[in-house]
């Protein structure tokens, strides 16, 4: 009997860790290949390009610490996305929450500047958290009261807060000695303490790690985390069994906002030292990519954020040693995201060769 072979795609009942490992490795290799292709198109020596990328990220002790510094806000915005997305609340407003956190932190700084740093810095952190939470609370309430999709309201918040900041910086908080829209510099004694000699890594990194542990415990070990997951996986059953979906949604949005707000304070008081509209280099949006790559697992956010921090730093060195613009990093981020998400989707299926009787 003549048999014709053909392929058939089947859904796997169980995805083994080996399959996951293979598909993720494939994603990494493909990402590297496409990035290399881009360098080739840009007429750069591919080897030198990758070496620059790696050296900038992890090539030296200093580079490593700088990478952790870059990872700090990304860890926080990544966590902010994780907790929201676990509840299936599509918070895209991390950018606004980050900025509003920074605005509130700066407000605390200007209002309580007479206090000693040991007291003022905690107050600054608290204000940043409250600021981010407020900024998450507003779209949550709009959704609760008028059932407006949070994707739209959180994106709109990003614009509202950015322009509000611009307004502040061109009026009350403008540095009189500068032409630009920016505040005066933060007094040295109120800056976040440095963790290591001769480096820039600051208190914010420790806060980000603490936040990671807290969010991990919250999601996996507490009743609230249980309710968040239940709501995300089956809101109907959750509602039937007495989980208040609106209340949980508001809480999640406030926690999510608070995390981004903390990131804002870290950048303002640990890196930039001036309130201005370029505090975040799209950290809010990168946080979403990081959370997706981390599979919405809080603990996985840290390594992914460090990888992305490294990519950012590496791309700066790439720009100085070759003439590829550092914005290549955003292309790489997108490539990595696409391949990883594809890999995860594909690993749920398998290809089978089947015989067709003729």
């Amino acid at each position: 009997m003549f048999k014709q072979l053909r392929f058939k795609i089947e859904k796997r009942k169980h995805v083994s860790s080996l399959v996951q490992l293979i598909s993720l490795s494939a994603a990494i290799i493909l990402s590297v290949l496409i990035t290399g292709l881009l360098m080739y198109v840009g007429k750069v020596n591919i080897g030198a390009g990758f070496i620059a990328l790696f050296d900038g990220a992890f090539g030296s002790w200093k580079a490593c610490v700088e990478t952790l510094l870059k990872a700090t806000p990304l860890i926080l915005t990544g966590l902010a996305t994780v907790i929201a997305f676990r509840a299936r609340i599509w918070n895209i407003g991390q950018e606004s929450q980050l900025y509003f956190g920074a605005i509130m932190a700066y407000l605390a700084y200007t209002q309580f500047i007479f206090l000693p740093p040991i007291i003022l810095i905690p107050i600054i952190i608290l204000f940043a958290i409250i600021g981010g939470a407020i900024c998450g609370f507003i779209p949550a309430m709009i959704k609760a009261k008028f059932a407006v999709d949070e994707i739209i309201t959180t994106i709109m918040m990003n614009y509202i807060v950015t322009y509000f900041l611009s307004l502040l910086l061109s009026t009350v908080w403008k540095d009189p000695n500068h032409y630009y829209e920016q505040s005066p510099t933060i007094l040295e004694k109120f800056r976040f303490p440095i963790l290591l000699e001769n480096n820039r890594l600051h208190l914010g990194f420790i806060l980000a790690i603490i936040a990671t542990v807290i969010i991990f415990l919250l999601i996996s070990k507490t009743p609230l985390g249980y309710e968040i997951k239940a709501m995300g996986l089956n809101p109907i059953a959750a509602k039937f069994k007495g989980i208040n979906l609106i209340k949980t949604m508001v809480i999640v949005m406030m926690i999510s906002g608070a995390l981004s707000g903390l990131a804002g304070a870290g950048e303002l008081f640990g890196v930039i030292f001036r309130l201005k509209s370029t505090i975040s280099l799209g950290y809010g949006y990168t946080g979403i990519i990081i959370a997706m790559l981390a599979g919405l697992e809080p603990l996985a956010v840290v390594p992914v954020a460090i990888l992305f921090g490294g990519l950012l730093n590496g791309s700066f060195l790439l720009q100085t040693t070759t003439n590829i613009p550092s914005s290549l990093v955003y292309v790489i981020q997108a490539i990595v995201l696409l391949f990883f998400l594809s890999a995860r989707a594909i690993s749920n299926y398998r290809l089978r060769i089947v015989a067709n009787d003729q």
Partner: protein, 518 residues
């Protein structure tokens, strides 16, 4: 008229399985199954949950690929590679769990499943054909209604119509009557008889013995994945089939002890609420429930039962009227508050309303009680205690597999229901509200659930039992309330009524149509 049962032996074989085996990892779902289905017969596949009926059906439908053995269709060996392949050959299937697109209308769902795919979607011919089909089979349905607006029974009709629309020759129905009212079941029987007379074959997957007897020409029994035997239905009794199916004797008749009925404690007064379509789902429903009483609710699907259940569960807002629980109003209280008063809910839609399929069994067992002190250690969940409780409940309710960390989605229908029962019933209760608690389950589990409910009744728990199975209502209820058009039109004392009377009342053609309590 010659009975088709007499001539069925002479009908040619349409589909035959030879030593069909299907494994899932280590579980053998079908073990060397060899049986045949003839042209123009209604053939029941009978077996308990987990006996492998659905798996066998899914293999014939090309949804699963068989591991070994052969399937012969119209005398030729076929290698079914996909459901669409099967449909092309003329094998159609209606699943137990619906595969409908909920935001789409009935017509859109039919059009999408249609074999005649055109580049431009023109719904007019589909609609015309559907209207004539509905008329032919006497089905009344709003073809423009969205699926989510339909009751479970109506959704089942859409599924059946979908297959009929595509003109199948062998129609597999997986527990088709589970969601239908007795009247709708009768209608289905009429439709299938017509289809059969036109030369169609029907495979009817079921575990309801009455249906097998009433309805089929032949019946094949499966037990634990193995094929037991095929019988001409006219040659066997329910008891014989039950024995073949379970491998032991089963109590088909429930013996209900008389329990003195206590004080009324739960009262509904002229309750009104909207349905999903914004129309009046409930228009002034009233009843009183006594302690230690089972109050059954009969009615054709879509007459307000779903809305009433949801109001009582606290997930549907009340527009007018009052709910009194031990004399206090619990109107528009949250599900959590109602739960705290000792009210348990068993929803009809286990998968969507009762469980979180991606959670483990242990996690589902604390759904609703996740903040109770027994499940907590400080601010954290007490994982060890939760697992210990889960193991106890799993043993107490004989849930299979007996591991609390299994993902709930891997459980069979009967075990899913047991998880819900374990969660809902294993605490101090005053009232149980059960919606179709035995729908789609096998006799073993049904027997078990009935026993549980009767035990609760003995403990003076008041029970509201919504069921589309009149036998069940008559066997369990002390009184039977009939719902019609969003009202409770009459409440009968079970001992003083009969199925005919209830059936007439359900159809709304009872002469004395006034709202009465007691």
């Amino acid at each position: 008229m010659t009975s088709p049962r007499d001539v069925i032996d002479y009908h040619p074989v349409l589909l035959e399985t030879k030593n069909l085996t299907k494994r899932f990892q280590n579980v053998v779902a079908n073990d060397n199954v060899s049986l045949n289905f003839r042209k123009g017969e209604i053939h029941c596949l009978l077996g308990e949950n987990g006996a492998g009926k659905t798996t066998l059906a899914e293999c014939i439908y090309g949804f699963y690929r068989i591991d070994s053995g052969e399937i012969h269709y119209k005398g030729k060996k076929v290698d079914l590679t996909s459901p669409s392949h099967a449909v092309k050959l003329g094998i159609g299937m209606v699943h137990q769990h619906f595969v409908l697109i909920r935001p789409f209308s009935v017509i859109e769902n039919i059009a999408i499943s249609s074999l005649e795919k055109k580049f431009l979607l023109d719904l007019t011919p589909t609609k015309k054909k559907m209207e004539s089909l509905c008329e032919k089979y006497g089905i009344k349905m709003d073809l423009n209604a969205k699926i989510w607006q339909l009751s479970v029974g109506e959704q089942q009709w859409v599924e059946i119509l979908k297959a009929v629309f595509n003109g199948v020759e062998l129609l597999i129905l997986d527990e088709p009557t589970a969601a239908l009212t007795p009247k709708e079941v009768d209608k289905l029987f009429v439709v299938l008889q017509q289809m059969k007379e036109q030369g169609l074959s029907v495979i009817f997957v079921t575990h309801k013995l009455q249906e097998v007897i009433k309805f089929s020409d032949r019946v094949s029994v499966l037990r634990k994945g193995k094929f037991i035997d095929t019988f001409n239905t006219s040659d066997v009794t329910q008891e014989q089939l039950a024995r073949k199916m379970v491998g032991r004797d089963v109590v088909l008749q429930i013996t209900k002890k008389r329990v003195p009925i206590g004080e009324p404690f739960f009262e509904l007064v002229n309750l009104s609420a909207a349905n999903d379509r914004g129309q009046e789902g409930l228009r002034g429903a009233s009843f009183k429930l006594h302690k230690g009483e089972i109050l059954g609710f009969a009615g054709v699907a879509g007459n307000g039962q779903k809305e009433l259940f949801e109001v009582l569960a606290g997930v549907r807002k009340i527009q007018a009227g009052e709910i009194l629980f031990n004399g206090k109003s619990i109107k528009n209280q949250s599900p959590a508050e109602i739960r705290k008063r000792g009210v348990a809910h068993i929803p009809d839609d286990r998968i969507n309303e009762g469980l979180i399929m991606d959670f483990t069994v242990a996690e589902n067992l604390i759904l609703g009680s996740q903040r109770d002190l027994e499940n907590r250690k400080g601010i954290f969940l007490n994982r060890n205690q939760i697992l210990i409780n889960a193991r106890n409940l799993i043993q107490l309710f004989s849930i299979v597999p007996p591991t609390p960390t299994t993902q709930t989605k891997h459980l069979s229908g009967g075990n899913l229901q047991k998880v819900i029962l374990a969660r809902e019933l294993n605490r101090k209760l005053e009232c149980v509200i059960a919606n179709q608690p035995t729908r789609g389950l096998d006799v073993g589990v049904i027997e078990y659930i009935h026993k549980r409910l009767l035990d609760l009744r003995k403990e003076h728990v008041g029970i509201l039992l919504f069921s589309e199975d009149l036998d069940e209502l008559f066997a369990l209820s002390d009184r039977i309330a009939v719902m019609y058009c969003g009202k409770i039109i009459r409440i009968f004392n079970t001992l003083e009524t009969n199925m005919e009377e209830i059936g007439l009342c359900m159809a709304g053609i009872d002469g004395k149509m006034e709202c009465s309590n007691n």
